[in-house]
Symmetry: C2
């Protein structure tokens, strides 16, 4: 595809995406959700450690509980489908092991893997993302890097369990945006909801303690009155700066 | 545009986007960066409080300092352009005021603004996002909601300055993904870098204390050997679940 068509298509998708508060009763084909989820997982992600999870809640009982956990807001209550987006701070070790295995397989099949990648997944990533019991290792790293930082550029994050939450949420959000754009490209609509009871959402999905709920995404076809506010942004100069 | 062409274009953009470690010397037209930044600002964002900022670093001296702060990694050193993505936890008040003003303007021009929106921007948003000196208000809200939460679904975040960091970073990441996809749609490439000295980056840009640096994005045209690893993802079932 020519970049001219490509950018036109993307502009159309991004500009026509709005957070929809009221959906009509049109069902969303399962393939739309499946494909949009697959595209979500192609987002760039921190060190390829994939700290994301997506729960497509189809079971009517869980779905009705989930709507309540989203304060029964109209976007949730009228949505054809609901997807819960989860960020995990403790799955990176499993994913790092998997990454090494897949790299080994690729190398055996003839792909050249740079030495730096082996070093990264064998030594650096475990050191960077392990914060230790009560965050002790993180604190030691923080002090060490702070001192070293007087002489040379050093990593400043993640150095605590809290930094890990920011880290996992950030990567998950990149995937969420892919998902919402993909749903829009299929001609359907979304509403990302942060207004929800994350504790109840975790209970409904039986999620472990390290799971965070960056957002729940409502999916459906917009009703004509589904956009409730004009699209407003502050002055461009507040947000885009050239230096 | 038909949704068939639309999804094909998006699939092509998302699948061909890779994190590029080596760029060739092709310059990136200024309009590409400008338009991609405009599209970034159309991402959905929490309560429309727009806690993001994007610094396009063109000044050669600052750029060279920035490359060093990114550990002089090849992606930064060979990039035609560098954009620093910033999340702010203290600009929401200004943006909330602006939102009210723009809603008032829209109403005067005949747009119907729902009562809920007035209530939200006048009362609820300030209550939700103010954490108070030393986070005291946040703590009180946290306790209050925790107790109320035994009876009904309640908000659990943001209740601390730390939650505010997660909040601002999450929204900024949504915009970052729009930006990277737009650059790709124009036929150019990106590398999102979290491996950098955020303290030094903030110093170079003279940013205030509440600014976070979710990522620095390198932009350019990929060299043939610019993709250094095969695209690897863990088993789909680890990340996509249907319940």
């Amino acid at each position: 595809m020519q970049s001219n068509d490509s950018i036109k298509a993307l502009v159309d998708i991004i500009e026509s995406r709005r957070s929809i508060r009221l959906f009509d009763k049109t069902p969303v084909p399962g393939e739309v959700i499946e494909k949009a989820l697959d595209l979500a997982l192609l987002a760039p992600n921190s060190s390829n450690l994939q700290p994301w999870e997506f729960y497509w809640v189809r079971n009517p009982e869980s779905k009705s509980e989930l709507v309540k956990a989203c304060f029964s807001q109209a976007a949730a209550a009228t949505a054809a489908e609901l997807v819960v987006c989860i960020a995990r701070t403790r799955t990176w070790k499993r994913n790092c092991e998997d990454m090494k295995e897949q790299l080994e397989k690729a190398e055996k099949q003839g792909t050249r893997i740079p030495k730096a990648a082996w070093l990264y997944y064998r030594k650096i990533a475990p050191l960077m993302y392990t914060q230790g019991r009560f965050g002790v290792l993180g604190l030691l790293k923080c002090i060490g890097f702070f001192i070293l930082g007087f002489w040379k550029p050093v990593s400043r994050e993640p150095m605590s369990s809290h930094d890990m939450k920011i880290w996992a949420t950030k990567t998950t959000a990149l995937a969420c945006e892919n998902f919402m754009l993909a749903v829009r490209a299929f001609g359907f609509d979304t509403c990302p909801m942060e207004g929800m009871d994350s504790r109840r959402v975790k209970k409904i999905l039986k999620l472990p303690g390290d799971a965070l709920v960056p957002m729940v995404i409502a999916i459906g076809k917009r009703r004509e009155d589904g956009v409730t506010l004009p699209r407003i942004r502050g002055p461009r100069s507040w947000f885009i700066k050239t230096i």
